[in-house]
């Protein structure tokens, strides 16, 4: 009896392992961010629009926000630009841009040509802030809750689909019980 059960059991185990592997295959290249569930990293950047009036993590408190790391040198950022403009039009969250290792004049030209989806853009010339955010390939976007905690990260181009199916439900799920739990937080 064990003569059959043992190989059968081993085979079943192998099948389970392979199925789990196949199901996770699409996320194979996505490295989960250790920042999720933690406070957004502190930062202070120059403002792209005027060169001063610092852009900092203080902007991320009291409301939901989307932090988007981009650069004019990044083709995928061009691809997601329309989706960002759409999110801006929908008006649920301000988008804070971190312009990663970019030239200010090129970034300004990009925004005036393609439209500006950002409420504020900070310029990360030496790339230190991007490293603190664990960014390894632009574009990357972080959904931040009103407590300033990172809730979700999108690696690669933001799309209307990701925004509506992954990000918005997180915002809605939290804002509903928030009225009762408000005193606790």
């Amino acid at each position: 009896m064990t003569r059959f059960l043992l190989p059968l059991g081993a085979f079943a185990l192998l099948v389970v392992v392979l199925i789990v592997g196949l199901r996770h295959a699409p996320e194979k290249n996505i490295i989960p961010s250790p920042l999720i569930g933690k406070s957004a990293p502190q930062f202070a950047l120059q403002n792209l629009s005027d060169g001063h009036s610092p852009v900092s993590a203080a902007l991320l408190r009291g409301h939901w926000s989307l932090v988007n790391v981009w650069g004019t040198w990044c083709p995928e950022c061009r691809a997601e630009h329309e989706a960002l403009l759409q999110i801006k039009r929908e008006g649920q969250v301000p988008i804070i841009g971190i312009d990663w290792k970019d030239a200010d004049d090129e970034a300004q030209a990009w925004l005036s040509q393609l439209g500006n989806p950002y409420s504020t853009v900070g310029t990360d010339h030496d790339g230190r802030v991007a490293i603190d955010w664990g960014v390894y390939a632009a574009p990357e976007s972080f959904l931040i809750n009103p407590d300033g905690v990172v809730v979700y990260k999108v690696i690669g181009a933001m799309t209307a689909e990701i925004w509506h199916q992954k990000c918005l439900p997180l915002i809605q799920a939290r804002s509903m019980p928030a009225t009762q739990a408000g005193s606790g937080s």
Partner: protein, 150 residues
Amino acid sequence: MRGVRLAYALLGMSTLLAALPAMAVDNVPPLPTPQLQQRYYQLTHELRCMQCQNEALADSPVGLAADLRLQVRELLIAGQTDEQIRQHMVDRYSEFILFRPRMNWRNAWLWGAPGVLMLVGVVVAWRVIRSRSQLVDSEEADPNAESLNS
């Protein structure tokens, strides 16, 4: 005459080839002490370049790797331990950045698997050997076995 020229050309080429390893990606000035330089060398070889994921920081030509090497250098000079520097990177980029993963409860089964497999092998081998030895005994006891084999 031609032979001599050829020999010179070959010598020149091989000298250039021998110098190739010196054309490293990381060509910043060395750290102030040999000890720091040694630790810098080790750390940049055991941290992964997140952008081109199968290369070490030390070998990767991308901008992000250069920025991360700079951070390693600054943290070393600031007096942080190797473990603190590793943790600094893990806090930002997850354990994926370590080429040598740490043991934790999630991967403990992987670390334990060779031992478990070994144990299973020993048990199986022991049972097979025992049943075979019983087989030989019973064959010898059976007078018909001899005639069947021949």
